[in-house]
Amino acid sequence: MEITKTKRREKGYFGVLVKHPLALIAHIILLLAVIAAVFANFFPADALEQDLMSSLLPPTLHADSFPGAASSFPHILGTDSLGRDLTARILLAIRISLLVSFFSVVIAMIVGVTLGLVSGYIGGAVDNVIMRIVDALMSLPFVVLAIAVVAAIGPGLINVALVLGFTGWVTFAKLVRGEVLRIREYSFIEAANSIGCSSIRILIKHILPQTMGIILVNATLTMGQMIVSEATLSFLGLGVPAPTPTLGGILADAQQTFFAAWWIMVFPGLILMAIILSINIIGDFLRDYFDTSEAGSR
């Protein structure tokens, strides 16, 4: 995917996007996921209502016919061992997944960008301390770090978003610092300095806008990582606790009914994969669009 500057200027984002079918499909899948997340509670079946009469029903397009069936809507993706409708659970799980990963990316971005700006602009001992912490945290697996923190503060929806946010800021800090070091050498920064702009003004008004491309690309790729991490934590029972449905949690349940119900294992995984794949493709597309080859080197 080679995107030249002139092309970008002439056609705009969507003009370039329609020329890249893979990226376009990825955008559409992510859009569908967002729509599913927003309107999850308008789905006619309930995600939490148990109905042991309809336990472990395979995917079907016909509504339950026996008297007293809980839902008159067909279990399109089947039901789980407690008779809960899998479609409704997956839709709600997509909402949880996107919410948690979005907020954790926002936290990681705020913390990381701030520390990166400070580190790159002030330099010296401050830079050294921040960068040593970044290196140390980067040498540890993200999941291990998150698990250690969850062990301390306990699982839960908000805790997971906090944990992922406060452990995921390091790539932002590293990338932004590098950009600041590059940009501060330009003469327009010197000019701003010589007409008496304050450091904070230079950082926010002159340097930060230049780093937006790299931040956006890294935010996208980090979002994919956050979705995997949230699912992993929930799968291990260290994430968002039951009865709230999560994609990782549903897959953990699927382990119990391996022999009887393949659908519980297949569909949440497929959805998870489709979302992560789309986000990765969008990240690659954004990287080419903004022409920032350094971003997202995780």
Binding site: R132, L137, L140, P141, A152, I153, F235, L251, L272
Partner: protein
């Protein structure tokens, strides 16, 4: 070279101290750990006694220094659940994790590099696009889902391999495949792009026109030059392999450090959490140091020592 190793050792020491400090800080920010151990009906006097027993009645700074000196002596204390030494529990599980991580590493490398090179040599063909597509999908599949699918396929549907457990080589197959897939996808991508870069350089043309056989060029010149970014990728991805092994070990009942970490985090068994985290960090640091030395052996240009 000695100087280089010494410098790396000091860097690694700083890293370990920072990691250990972060874990200490987090554990202490999260409220009173005594409430987790003590029964909910314990009186204030009981709590105070427990606090002094664990040294929690002292100021934070004193506790931090005590904690650092204990970790430096590898004293992590007893598990809050089993009353065993945390250090012993972790050391006992170290071999299983090493076996799993290294077999995944080897599998990903010996399968990933040829696929990546083949894709680069056949650029633009269907072989190339298939390899690229598979590597993209491989990087988007969560490790635990791969593990579940493999258990379902080869443990339930076509029962030829044990779905979980530890001991025989057959038990190693499914965990290794699940763990290596993410790494393999990354290696295919990197090998492909670095081979393409080497192929575009003029010296390949010169070798070709001198009449040197294709195979010789491929192995002696292209592979050697293309393998540097692959090594970098390995060192970068090692932490994901270890991170993934937490999940894989939990799914397959593989008795390694990863499973121990997940279990002890679930049971809030702090000494064991700290000990496992410590050894995982140590392992990754040693691994990346060894790789750095290895670099210089392969490519004198990037030799970091004089």
């Amino acid at each position: 070279m000695i100087k280089f190793i010494l410098r790396r050792l000091i860097q690694s020491l700083v890293t370990i101290v920072i990691i250990v400090s972060v874990v200490f800080l987090v554990l202490n920010l999260s409220g009173d750990p005594i409430r987790m151990i003590a029964s909910p009906t314990a009186s204030e006097a009981d709590l105070a006694q427990l606090r002094s027993a664990y040294g929690l009645d002292k100021p934070l700074a004193v506790r931090y220094v005590n904690y650092l000196s204990k970790v430096a002596h590898l004293e992590f204390g007893e598990s809050l659940r089993t009353q065993q030494e945390a250090l012993q529990m972790v050391l006992k599980r170290l071999p299983a994790t090493l076996v799993l991580a290294f077999s995944a590493l080897v599998l990903a490398t010996i399968v990933g590099i040829p696929i990546g090179m083949l894709a680069a040599l056949k650029k633009g063909t269907s072989i190339d696009s298939t390899a690229v597509l598979i590597s993209m999908i491989g990087q988007a599949m969560p490790v635990f889902w791969i593990a579940l699918l493999l258990i379902f396929l080869f443990g339930v549907l076509i029962p030829i391999l044990p779905p979980s457990g530890y001991g025989t080589p057959a038990h190693l197959v499914l965990p290794t495949i699940s763990l290596s897939l993410f790494l393999l996808a990354g290696i295919v991508r990197v090998t492909r792009s670095s081979t393409l870069e080497v192929l575009s350089q003029p010296f390949v043309n010169v070798l070709n026109s001198k009449g040197i056989s294709e195979h010789l060029i491929l192995i002696k010149h292209i592979f050697r030059n293309a393998s540097i970014p692959v090594l970098t990728q390995l060192s970068l991805q090692m932490r994901f392999v270890i991170g993934g092994s937490v999940v894989v070990e939990s799914v397959f009942g593989w008795p390694g450090i990863g499973q121990l970490l997940a279990q002890s985090a679930y049971g809030r068994d702090y000494p064991v959490v700290i000990a496992s985290t410590f050894f995982i960090a140590l392992f990754i640091l040693v691994f990346s140091m060894v790789l750095d030395i290895f670099y210089g052996l392969i490519d004198p240009r990037v030799r970091v020592w004089k």
